[in-house]
Each structure stands twice: as structure tokens, then as C-alpha cells.
Amino acid sequence: MKARPTNMLARIYLGLVLAFLYLPILVMAAMSFNSSQFYMLPIDWTFDWYVKLAHNTRLLESTRNSILVAMVTTVIASVLGTAASIAFFRYEFRFKKVLQAALFPPIAIPWLITGTAMLLFFFWSGIGRGLHAMILGHVALALPYVIIVVSARIKGFDPDLEAAARSLGASPWQVIRHVTLPYLAPGFIAGALFAFAVSFDQFVISYFLSVPGVSTLPVEIYTAIKKGFTPEINAISTLVIAFSITLLVIVSRFYRFGGDR
């Protein structure tokens, strides 16, 4: 394994896999700067499509909706998720295993099934569709991730710190505010950003819960793709993917994907 040729080969292979993962996105990004609507080469560089984007009210409107839904989702999911993580860490109780296992379905069941089930139930029960329904759905998807991320951080917490604070005369609320929460902060931030990313990039659930005229950016992009390719979609897609990759790189500063290394 220490022989150089194998090492070289291994690196080339890794390079090819990375090319497979990133090249389509880079091609799309390049084409969003191409003035030719038929993607002629060589690329004739232009910002026209981005300028057009700024005047596309439908896309702007749906971008606003996406940000709104993602922000509300982030607040609700991080608060509820952190509270549950604290309970899991602090207490032993009979249904703990069951509750932890119940986090699995929102992640594991195909979104098509959860999405259509939500559509059917929300419509039937009178909750209805639209942004509030999307927030309901997005929080359900984001919650398990928040709990996993926050729990990973909380594991390293030493309960003696709380006991020490208490013995020095801190009230229960002061213990939480000055000891527990500051320690949890990095996990909380990572969980919140993750929730934002999950919601902002979510397409399937939003698609089933959208009503004509009220949709999020991914739903609007999907509709536009089905109508036919235009460089304008490339432009907005490039912006969205650049944004979500940046967001995830920031998350990775707070939380190690794939556990301890």
C-alpha cells in the first residue's frame, strides 16, 4: 500500500469521483453566464440572465417564501429539538428508546409518501395547503436532524458543572442560562443551520403542499424545468446551490459529518 503507483492511482480515482460529483454543477454554472440560449460553445460571457432574474417577480416572490419558511422552520425546529435533546440527555425514562426510534420515520420514509400523506391529511382536516402547511412539514423533517446534531454535542457535557453551579447558589434558570446553554451553543447553531438547509432545499414536501401562486423556490424551479430549459433557470439554480453549499460548509465547522474522526 505504500508503493507510489497505487497511491497515484488512488488519487486519480478520487479525482474522477469528485469530477463526477461536481462537473454537472459547474457546467450548469458556466452555462448561466453564456449569452447563447442554445448553449453554443465557446461561451460568450454575459450577466444578462442574472439581470433578467432580478426582474422575474415569480422567482423573487418564491425566493422570499423559501426564506420565510426556512426561517420559521429553523426557529421552531431548533427550539423543540434542543428541548427534546436535553430531556434525552438528562433523564432516563421508560419510553426513551421508543421516542428516539420515532425520529427515524421522517428521515427514512420516502418523501413522496410523507408528502402525499400530508397533502391528503392537511386538505381533509381543514389545515389546508400553503406556506403554513409547508412549515408544519419542514419542521417534521428538520426535527430529527436537529436532535441528532444537538445530542452529539450534548454527549460531552459534564453534569457536574450544573451541580457545581447549583451548589454555588445558582437558581435552576441561571444554571440553564449560564452553564448549559453556553456549552450547547455550537451544537445549537449547527442544528439551526442544518434545519435551515433542510427546509431551504426541500422540494418534495413543498411541491405537494403548494397552491397555485404560493410556492417556494425549488417548486418554482421544477415548474420552470418542466416547461423547458432556459438559461434563467441555470442562473437561479447556480445561486441556490452556491448558497446551500456555503451554508453546509459553515455547518461543517460546527458539526463533524460522519461522526468522530
Partner: protein, 295 residues
């Protein structure tokens, strides 16, 4: 609310006074999951046994005909097999491409590079799936990037016509889910002690023997976990086949979507969703022991 009288109960185990805190802390999250996951699934199960949507002014009764349709008509069985085949093929390709990649990351590359490259592989998985699938249309379409590249390498190569084919759907899905397989394999591979491999090598085992007798068996939990976690969403996919498959992209997922968005036969859609869910649950049940070990 959060801190109960923990001072008086140093063991903090099953104290009745803790019950209020536990309910207060976990209640909101789980109430939310009940309203958004459990009740919708229950409602869908109910709908799947009805002849029409149970709304005022509609005529509906309880029936088994939605499920009967699936078992009687060849169309749905063929569709199911097609979706299962797609899931199997995508998982297989992800393994073939992803396992060596995970191995290189876990065993050949060291230090800061490993962390950076690992992140580069994993991050696309969490980014926007729709856009990543869409980006393939730029590459695969007639006279797109791939054809131009091949034409430049081999003049007169001609046309591939990959867009709107089964293969295009497979390519797009492998691209979407490959990082998952790399992640799960990487986690199991990094738990294998390098000394074990060195020991086998020093005792004269060839590379292939080491791979077959040590590395593959020890990383099996990761491989299976990756395969299951890819297989399940793929058999329920509808957006990827729609964008890349065109008319060739009819699978169980797209037919379910049709029932809800264009045909408006919700009871049939609900029954098909539940059959899909049953498949998913069976798969999870079969592989549960391995999945538990992997996590």
C-alpha cells in the same frame, strides 16, 4: 420548567417529579411529529380503503378495490418491478463507485487532506437535490457537454441520445445518492485496524485475499446500510425520473404523484403509497440487525 428538583434526587432515575420535565421538554416535538407524520399516515391508510375522497357531497364507501387493482392489473406489477430494479441498480452502482472511493479516503489519504476531501464528497448530498438532477440535463442532452466531449475525443462519434432514457435516470440517481454510500462505507472502513491488514499482508496474504477475507466482511455493515438507505428513497423517487427520464421515466413513484397532482384519484394513490411503504418496511425489517450494528 426545565430544571426540576434535581438536587434532591441525585440519581435522577425515574423520579416521578421528573415526569413533568420530561413531558414538557419532549412533548412539543413529539406532538408535532404526531400531527405531521403519524396522523397523515393514518389518514392515508384510511383513504386507501375508500372508493372516493370522503368530503361532503361525495359518494364514497369502504372498498378493497384500490388494493385489488394493484394485484390484478399487470401494469402496476410491472411498474413495481421496474422501480425495484431501479433501486437495485442504483444501489449497486453506488457501491461499485463509492466503496473504492471510501477506501481511498479512509486508508490511503491522511491528515488535513482527508478531512477536506471527505467534506467535498459529503456536502453535495445535503445540497439541493432538484438542482443537482437538473444540472445533468446540461450534460446529457442532445449536443450537450457529454456528446461534445466525446465528439472532440473521437471525431465522428455521433449521437448518444442519453437524455430521456432509463440510463439517464440511473446516472442522475447515482449522482444524487453516491455520497451516502461513501459516507457509510467510510465510517465502517475507518474502524478497521490497519495493523490487522498489515498482519495479514506480512503473513503472505495477497491484496485480493485481504480484500475478500478482511476488508469486505468487516465493512459489510456500512455497505448494507448504504445500500438500504439508497434503495428506499430511489424506489420512491419521482422528480428524478420526470426530469431525466421523460417518457421513459414511468415508475411507481411517478404514478403515485400522478394520482395526487393530475388524475386526482387520491384513494388509489394512497393504496399505492401504502404498498410502497410496505416494501420499505419489509426491507428495513430484514436488514434491521445490520443497520443497528452500523449505527
Amino acid at each position: 420548567m426545565a430544571v426540576s428538583d434535581t438536587e434532591r434526587s441525585p440519581t435522577r432515575r425515574r423520579q416521578p417529579s421528573n415526569a413533568k420535565s420530561i413531558v414538557g421538554l419532549t412533548g412539543p416535538a413529539y406532538l408535532w411529529l404526531i400531527v405531521t407524520i403519524l396522523l397523515p399516515l393514518a389518514a392515508m391508510l384510511y383513504f386507501s380503503f375508500l372508493s372516493d375522497v370522503p368530503l361532503p357531497g361525495r359518494d364514497w364507501q369502504v372498498t378493497l378495490s384500490n388494493y385489488a387493482a394493484f394485484f390484478q392489473e399487470d401494469f402496476y406489477r410491472t411498474l413495481m418491478l421496474r422501480s425495484l430494479r431501479l433501486g437495485f441498480e442504483v444501489a449497486l452502482w453506488c457501491f461499485l463507485i463509492g466503496f473504492p472511493c471510501a477506501y481511498v479516503l479512509a486508508k490511503t489519504i491522511k491528515g488535513r487532506w482527508r478531512e477536506a476531501l471527505f467534506l467535498m464528497v459529503i456536502i453535495p448530498f445535503w445540497s439541493n437535490a432538484l438542482i443537482r438532477v437538473f444540472s445533468w440535463t446540461m450534460v446529457l442532452r442532445g449536443n450537450g457537454m457529454l456528446e461534445r466531449l466525446l465528439d472532440w475525443l473521437i471525431p465522428g462519434f455521433g449521437s448518444l441520445n442519453l437524455m430521456f432514457t432509463y440510463e439517464a435516470v440511473v446516472i442522475g440517481l447515482v449522482h444524487s445518492y453516491l455520497p451516502y454510500m461513501i459516507l457509510t462505507c467510510y465510517i465502517s472502513l475507518s474502524t478497521i485496524d490497519d495493523d490487522l491488514i498489515d498482519a495479514a499482508r506480512s503473513m503472505g496474504a495477497g491484496r485480493l485475499t485481504v480484500l475478500r477475507r478482511i476488508i469486505l466482511p468487516l465493512s459489510m455493515p456500512g455497505i448494507v446500510a448504504g445500500a438500504v438507505l439508497i434503495f428506499v428513497p430511489v424506489i420512491g423517487s419521482f422528480m428524478e425520473p420526470r426530469i431525466l427520464g421523460g417518457r421513459e421515466g414511468t415508475f411507481l413513484g411517478t404514478v403515485i404523484e400522478d394520482q395526487f397532482t393530475s388524475v386526482f384519484n387520491w384513494p388509489l394513490g394512497a393504496a399505492l403509497s401504502f404498498i410502497l411503504l410496505a416494501c420499505v418496511l419489509i426491507i428495513f425489517a430484514i436488514f434491521q440487525p445490520i443497520l443497528r450494528r452500523a449505527s
